[in-house]
């Protein structure tokens, strides 16, 4: 057991280090900060931003109170969710494709490591990198919400960010699987994007399908469960769904690496 954990940590540290040393990953992080930062300000202060809307309502004489921080957090997290559609495949694309291309997979496959401990280590590594990408926004939010009156219950932003983490972990896990199928990082990114887009819009597809089939498909939608969670609705089925995607991704990755060794030509 100790060696398994030690192996996972070894892979984890290696992955993390390679992300922080990789110019590509840092460029991706930079663009992500730029775009997310723009949305942060736009949603808050832009011409259609939440403060402008509240001001407009006051001018129109609508006196229903608006929970500005809550509304803002929801908008912002759903934008972050959509952005991750584009950014996460770029983070996961190289996880295995690069190893295959460089031949380092041969090193991992001939070391006393199990396939799944490599997969878990890699997933944790890339997830940690993503978390550091989103960390600055926690600071922004804490500044923003500290000015809110009445105070927003802390559980809502925590839950929202937990949802973002779960969403990211699911996408990265599936992306890792796709990355293990090819040596081509670009192809891996495109395929991951297509798959995630499909899972994202599954809600819409489900609405077109009637009956039990429709609701079953609807349950698989990432968007639906993500929106529920960021609204503060804790539903065990959402947690189970994200958990399943994560485990599925790791499982498929381990299987695909095993299969690779068996039929490589």
């Amino acid at each position: 057991m100790n060696t398994i954990i030690s192996n996972i940590i070894a892979i984890y540290r290696k992955e993390l280090q390679s992300y922080f040393a990789s110019p590509l990953a840092l460029a991706i992080a930079g663009v992500y900060w730029l775009i997310s930062g723009f949305f942060f300000l736009y949603i808050l202060l832009g011409p259609d931003g939440i403060l402008a809307q509240v001001a407009m309502r006051e001018q129109l004489g609508i006196t229903d109170p608006v929970d500005v921080p809550y509304q803002f957090l929801q908008f912002f997290l759903s934008v972050m969710g959509s952005l991750s559609l584009f950014f996460l495949p770029m983070l996961s694309m190289g996880l295995y494709a690069e190893e295959r291309k460089r031949g380092t997979l041969e090193l991992l496959a001939t070391s006393p490591l199990t396939n799944w401990s490599v997969a878990v280590g890699k997933l944790l590594g890339v997830l940690t990198f993503y978390l550091t990408m989103t960390a600055p926004f926690l600071l922004y939010e804490s500044i923003l919400f500290s000015a809110a009156d009445p105070k927003m219950p802390i559980v809502i932003p925590i839950l929202g960010h937990l949802a973002l983490i779960l969403l990211a972990a699911s996408i990265l896990s599936l992306g890792m699987f796709i990355s293990s199928l090819t040596e081509n990082t670009f192809l891996s990114a495109i395929l991951t994007f297509a798959l995630i887009l499909f899972l994202w819009v599954m809600n819409g597809i489900a609405e077109g399908v009637t009956g039990a089939m429709g609701s079953a498909i609807g349950h698989l939608s990432l968007l639906k469960h993500y929106s529920n969670l960021i609204q503060g609705i804790i539903d065990s089925s959402s947690l189970i769904l994200f958990g399943s995607y994560i485990v599925l991704g790791i499982f498929l990755t381990a299987q695909s690496i095993e299969a690779l060794r068996y039929k490589r030509s």
């Binding site: 030690s6 892979i11 540290r13 390679s18 040393a21 041969e106 496959a109 001939t110």
Partner: protein, 351 residues
Amino acid sequence: MIEVEQLSKIYGTTQAIRDVTFNVEKGEILGFLGPNGAGKTTTMQILAGFLPATSGTARIAGYDVHEQSMAVRQRIGYLPETPPLYPDMTVEGFLHFVARIKGVAAGDRSKRVDLAVARCGLSERRKTLIRKLSKGFRQRVGIAQAIVHDPPVIILDEPTVGLDPRQIIEVRNLIKSLAGEHTIVLSTHILPEVNMTCSQVAIIKRGQVVATDKIENLMGRLTGGMGYEVEVEADVAGLEASLGSLFENIPGVKSIELLSREHLPENRYKWRMTAEPGTEPGRIIASRVVKAGLGLCELHRVQASLEDVFLELTMEDAKTPETEAEADVRDIQTPEPDMQDSEPPENTPPE
């Protein structure tokens, strides 16, 4: 230490290797020699547990490479054809990582890394990012990662590719220094390399091992022992007739041939003799010449190089139909020492 039996691998419809069988004793260095595409890398990948064999077994230190993969993986160091390196890591960081995933205990890691760095001549590049290293240094890091956990068995796939001549010598010395405590299998298509570093050689051709033996045995066996060339000056007229009996009945000499005098100065004669494997009749030849009162101008041994052996074993392609190639293989696997002089076996390949 390494036992390989009847190993075969089929990719789709291509047979990469067929019935490969060999053994390597502890502390030996086996050179795996063959032309490109002969199946060297496939065999190495199977040994390292990276690929499963279609049939046959391979055991390392008594563990089956497929059934007891984890036990085998702990006991081997493997350098694939392209060194498996992470360009964004430093040499030291990378070796620490490898030591860790190979299961070196935390307390020993620094020591092992230091040792591997020193052995592979990487001390000055410890902190350099691998992506900034030249090809030769990368190859050395590749070797360092194969020995960092001090494995009993080391598998090196073309370890000297891409190195300059000085580095090649260093790497060969390094490999030789590893023998004894480690058992090594290395593949190469460079003949002198096997000659210089290996104690044993397995020659592989089109997926089949056509010969395995100690290098001296192999060369002796396949070329029928050493040859001697002797040049004699005889200015006495009419000596020619008596020259015929000059070298008769020398123990160990199998055949004598008087060479053409075309390129020789006047009164010089030259013979070529073939000796039985394991005999050295040179002294007797010299004393005969002296006793006869002749001038000995030159006497030297002609040793078949590994190159001759290699070419003899692998050059069937030019004259190949498949069946003939197979007959060729069978002959060579069971060479009879007296093949040359007595009646020729049925399937002697055309000269």
